[in-house]
């Protein structure tokens, strides 16, 4: 047996069934410490964009719902906004409000889902179950409005397909009141906990300068102090009528560290912000139509006459989501490109993983809110000796749990 040589190279990923965006991360480690990290995106190509190029916008808008399992409205809203700009379609005001309400409910459920997963990665499964139980409230509200829990299919080109009727207001208000009651508890459980404090403070630090230089988006950018929020910067849907201010970690503490803890702070307080936005939307809901054109044939006729290109943006729970669409006097678009928000954030992984411990990888990778199931299969390859050790997700999670236990002693 040859002598062990440092550094070791640890490839993480790339495929896990639960992963939205499979990614391959390669870490160079010396002992427990990560010296450098690199990653390769684009491991799973489903060809949705290619499928879109043989379908009309009314078909694509429901195809976009299936890009991501958690952002059920994000992609369809961004795509619909792009097509509406090309075809010069004005969305009725009421539809804009329904879109905003659904988008904010999605933010609540997505952030709670993330908070639960983050707790799970720290070995704090009680909090994970609690967060997911609380999340059910938002899922029920979405189910009530759209009919289904996960794939809402509520967006149509030029409006929404389902209206929020008078009798639905009461259950939605009750759900929001419930969240308001729970918010204090959630804040205490996540932000005052000794375990979360000791594991997340200082882990995966991203400075303001680097966050700007790497063009991060969403809560990852805001946790580092960038005031980037599409809802405030380029208002769309009903956000123009609302006073949306980007949530920065300063809402809870005085300084901005840009670490994992700050990302939890931003997400927890964005839940409170979303509750307020929905309440305001429900109070000021305009009356009127919910679709620019009731008949699908009319929408398709407008698409047939459309020529040009446009970018549709939406502030997803994870950050800015971008859809580029080009149309040329045909029902079928000639180009369609999707840039999901996680893609922008992934690039900071090499940066924030540097200097971290192997046991901290799960929480740091998770902190920017991709699916952290990339830690599913880790192979430690000793390049010099040609030996390979396979770390399963369980082992890596166990390392993380053990670190928590060490800290608690």
């Amino acid at each position: 047996m040859t002598a062990k040589k440092v550094p070791y190279i640890v490839p993480v990923g790339p495929i896990h069934p639960a992963l939205k965006e499979p990614v391959h991360i390669e870490l160079t480690v010396s002992g427990e410490e990560v010296i450098s990290a690199d990653f390769t995106p684009g491991q799973t190509h489903r060809g949705i964009e290619w499928m879109g190029l043989s379908r009309n916008p009314v078909q694509i808008v429901h195809l976009t719902d299936r890009i991501c399992g958690i952002c059920g409205v994000t992609h369809s809203l961004a795509f619909a906004r792009a097509v509406e700009q090309i075809a010069d379609i004005t969305v009725p005001e009421r539809a804009d409000y329904v879109r905003t309400i659904i988008a904010e409910f999605e933010r609540i459920q997505s952030h709670l889902l993330w908070a639960g997963v983050a707790a799970h990665e720290l070995g704090f499964d009680t909090l994970f179950y609690l967060a997911w139980r609380v999340r059910e409230g938002a899922m029920d509200a979405i189910e009530l409005i759209s009919g289904n829990r996960v794939n809402y299919d509520i967006i149509q080109i030029g409006g929404v397909r389902r209206d929020i009727t008078e009798d639905q207001f009461e259950p939605i208000r009750r759900c929001l009141a419930n969240y308001k009651d729970l918010f204090g508890k959630l804040k205490m459980l996540f932000l005052e906990d000794a375990v979360i404090n000791s594991r997340c403070k200082g882990a995966g630090r991203l400075s303001f300068e680097k966050a700007m230089a790497y063009s991060t988006v969403g809560p990852t950018a805001r946790a580092s102090g960038c005031t980037a929020d599409l809802r405030a910067d380029y208002p769309y849907a009903a956000y123009g009528d609302l006073n949306v201010k980007p949530v920065l970690p300063t809402v809870y503490s005085n300084d901005i560290n840009g670490d994992t803890y700050d990302r939890i702070v931003v997400r927890i307080f964005e839940i409170a912000q979303s509750i307020e936005i929905i309440e305001e939307c429900l109070a000021n809901m305009p009356v009127g139509r919910i679709l620019w054109e009731e008949k699908v044939a009319g929408i398709l006729a407008a698409c047939k006459k459309a020529k040009g290109e446009a970018v549709g943006l939406h502030e997803a729970p994870r950050g800015e989501c971008l859809h580029y669409v080009a149309m040329d006097l045909a029902e079928i678009p000639i180009a369609w490109k999707v840039k999901a928000s996680s893609y922008s954030n992934l690039h900071v992984w090499p940066l924030i993983l540097k200097g971290a411990q192997l046991a901290d990888i799960p929480i740091i990778v998770a902190s920017i809110d991709p699916c952290l199931s990339c830690t599913d299969r880790v192979v430690v390859t000793d390049a010099a000796a040609g030996r390979t050790k396979i770390f399963t997700k369980e082992e890596l999670t166990r390392l993380s749990y053990e670190k928590t236990r060490r800290l608690m002693q």
């Binding site: 009680t126 909090l127 759209s146 009919g147 299919d153 397909r161 508890k185 459980l189 044939a297």
Partner: protein, 154 residues
């Protein structure tokens, strides 16, 4: 317990009823297959799943008699799960106003829906002018054979 606020929560929850609907049974049976067999025999009962909301989009219910084969649903289906089927010409007897009975050859156009490809967006039921396609309430659709009889609506 200022630093571990979860403790109080756990103590409180230990006396509360679980919020989860215990579907399909309250306790794990020794054998799932035997349990389901006894359910079909009527000896055991299933805890019903949570009720679906009124606007739920489940397995498509297709009414063949109402359909006129116009093919509008083909135009909006995102997954191309619907195909148009032309049934072989058959002889129909037509009686006109004068009472003359004539025999004519008629081709029937209908649709066929592959449930396995369906994404349950409900556009086909929204666009159908005859009300021939509707979104049902059924959601337990797991199958091994995507071309099984219950996986194709025609």
């Amino acid at each position: 317990m200022a630093k571990l606020p979860m403790f109080r929560e756990i103590l409180g929850q230990s006396v509360k009823k679980p919020v989860t609907n215990l579907f399909p049974t309250i306790r794990m049976p020794k054998s799932i297959t035997r349990f389901f067999r006894s359910v079909t025999e009527g000896k055991a009962e299933i805890v019903p799943p949570v009720a679906t909301p009124p606007v739920f989009r489940g397995k498509i219910v297709y009414d063949r008699t109402a359909c006129n084969g116009c093919g509008l649903c083909l135009k909006v289906c995102p997954t191309h799960a619907i195909e148009q089927v032309a049934y072989p010409p058959m002889t129909v007897t037509v009686t006109d106003e004068k009472g003359n009975v004539t025999e004519k050859l008629k081709t029937e156009k209908r649709i066929r829906i592959y449930i396995a490809s369906c994404v349950f967006c409900g556009q086909c039921s929204d666009i159908c002018t005859k009300g021939a396609v509707a979104m049902g309430n059924e959601f337990l659709l797991a199958t091994e054979d995507r071309f099984a009889e219950e996986q194709i609506a025609e």
